[in-house]
């Protein structure tokens, strides 16, 4: 029984499979969340697209940190009244946005000339510049997550077309969504098949080789499948335009929300000058 390890460490394959499973669940979460009965879910998709994008614009134009923080707080409130848990915001928007924008912003802390902050090798001006970048990224990511988790993806695409976003951009967005799902499914099948043929634990070198080879094959397979999906869409008459069975209809609540978004976005742009 020398080869049997009852408490064997989890390897690359097991971890990857678990990660892929979680990613597929996350990909499906948006559709489930969009069907819940929260405040934003009840609004017309056009109002949400226009309103939340205008807040992103206000944040991009703002030159005052407190104002960006206020819009972030508003986004959090909107998430709460739309049945989006804070842990979802934290895990899917805030951490990712902090990591990506933090890496870009970090050098500014040290390289921006100015007054030293509490005797540390960073400057006040550098901290302010980095703060702007990180807070803007966090706020924009939160607003967009709120949009995606309260609106069915096909409705977002149709709303974008109503706002004259070019067909090619909408097709790319639609295909990107499908591409991600296909890539996850293909990767899941590949790693399951590898797991069924793996008995002993792999060495780190073998794990690296598997990861590199798997990435290449996965890319090729997914590209092929995506091409096939596009052909299947064309075969059923798809010409780039988004059509839905549901007609968008503006009710009282929608007009009220549109007005509120307009006032908030205008006030933010004015106050953030």
């Amino acid at each position: 029984m020398s080869g049997v390890h009852p408490h064997k460490r989890r390897g690359l394959i097991e971890n990857t499979l678990e990660g892929l499973h979680a990613a597929m669940e996350r990909a499906l979460y948006a559709e489930v969340s969009a069907s819940r009965g929260g405040l934003l879910q009840r609004l017309d998709p056009r109002v949400k697209v226009a309103g939340l994008f205008s807040l992103v614009l206000a944040v991009a134009l703002a030159t005052k940190l407190w104002l960006i923080a206020a819009v972030l707080a508003l986004a959090v409130v909107l998430a709460c009244v739309s049945a989006i848990p804070l842990r979802v915001l934290a895990s899917r928007a805030w951490i990712a946005a902090l990591l990506f924008s933090g890496i870009i912003a970090a050098p500014a802390l040290f390289l921006t000339p100015g007054t030293s902050l509490y005797g540390l090798p960073i400057t006040m001006q550098g901290a302010r510049t980095a703060g702007f970048l990180v807070l803007r990224a966090e706020t924009a990511a939160t607003l967009m997550l709120v949009l995606i988790y309260t609106t069915r993806w096909t409705h977002v695409l149709k709303a974008l077309r109503i706002f004259r976003v070019p067909v090619v951009v909408v097709v790319i967005l639609g295909m990107t969504c499908r591409y991600i799902l296909l890539m996850l499914e293909t990767a899941h099948e590949m790693f399951e098949s590898r797991k069924s043929r793996t008995v002993n634990a792999m060495t780190p070198a073998e794990q690296r080789r598997l990861a590199v080879a798997g990435s290449g094959v996965l890319l090729g397979k997914t590209l092929h499948l995506s091409g096939e999906v596009y052909l299947a869409m064309q075969a059923r008459g798809f010409r780039g335009e988004v059509f839905l069975l549901e007609d968008f209809q503006m009710g009282k609540l929608d007009w009220l929300a549109l007005g509120a978004f307009a006032v908030l976005a205008s006030a933010s742009i004015w106050a953030g000058r």
Partner: protein, 264 residues
């Protein structure tokens, strides 16, 4: 003629998938494109559906050339897509909507049918294929047989005059295979054209009254199903049958030519 191919050649990445192919498919016929894996059947279906275009030669649909330029014209493309529909071999590529109902309604929406008619027709086809209970499910989480039915419903909803099927019974269990074949045989009361790419000779007599045998992208034979099935030399040469060793009852092993798939 429904389709006419005139010295059609299609190559991709240095591989010739369809090689100088000329053939004619009459209106209302049930055609089987036979050939082993890699013989060019799937590529030919894509060429007939105006999804791929040959590097040389031409495809004609009811006397009009299927070219990229022609299909860019809405006046030709819409009626063509309405009349000619294709079921892909891998149903996963055909299922890209959030729910089964949306998936089936996708084609009629592209054709800009009135919405009430789309809802009514989608409900009817879901009932007919006995998948109405799946209408709110996410398509890519269905079983293989269910996916195939949804893929079929998504094209039958348009009531096309021409149905292109790429290995329709592949990866289905025997009961689902049989049900699918029954459905295709009954579909349109026999008045529609059905072109099926397959290497499964088991149900050939049910799905086709005319066969084209492909090998390496070339047409090597054509004829009625009985004539093709009776030509053992042709079937062995094109890898549609193989010597298969097995037991009958308690006796010893023996071998004889064996049809691929189905009841073969």
């Amino acid at each position: 003629m429904l389709f006419e191919l005139d010295h059609l050649t299609y190559r991709y990445e240095g591989v010739t998938a369809v090689d100088d192919l000329s053939l004619a498919i009459p209106e209302g016929s049930r055609v089987a494109l036979l050939g082993a894996n890699g013989s060019g059947k799937s590529t030919l279906l894509r060429l007939l559906d105006g999804l791929l275009f040959g590097q040389s030669g031409a495809v004609w649909f009811r006397g009009e050339e299927l070219s990229e330029e022609h299909l860019a014209d809405d006046a030709f493309a819409f009626p063509f897509r309405r009349m000619v529909q294709m079921v892909f071999q891998n149903p996963d590529v055909q299922l890209f909507n959030p729910t089964v109902f949306d998936e089936v309604a996708f084609g009629p929406l592209q054709m800009r049918w009135p919405k009430n008619e789309i809802r009514e027709r989608t409900g009817e086809i879901l009932d007919r294929l006995r998948i109405a209970h799946l209408k709110d499910r996410v398509p890519h989480r269905l079983s293989g047989g269910e996916k195939k039915r949804v893929a079929l419903a998504s094209v039958l909803v348009l009531d096309p005059a021409v149905l292109l099927l790429d290995e329709p019974t592949a990866s289905l269990d025997p009961r689902s295979q049989s049900e699918l074949i029954d459905l295709l045989v009954e579909w349109g009361g026999g008045a529609k054209s059905v072109i099926t790419a397959t290497h499964d000779l088991g149900d050939l007599g049910d799905i086709a009254d005319m066969c084209f045998v492909l090998d390496g992208g070339r047409l090597v034979a054509e004829g009625r199903p009985d004539d093709i099935l009776g030509n053992q030399e042709l079937l062995q040469r094109t890898n549609l049958v193989h010597a298969h060793r097995h037991r009958h009852g308690p006796g010893g092993l023996h071998s004889h030519p064996h049809l691929h798939g189905g009841s073969g």
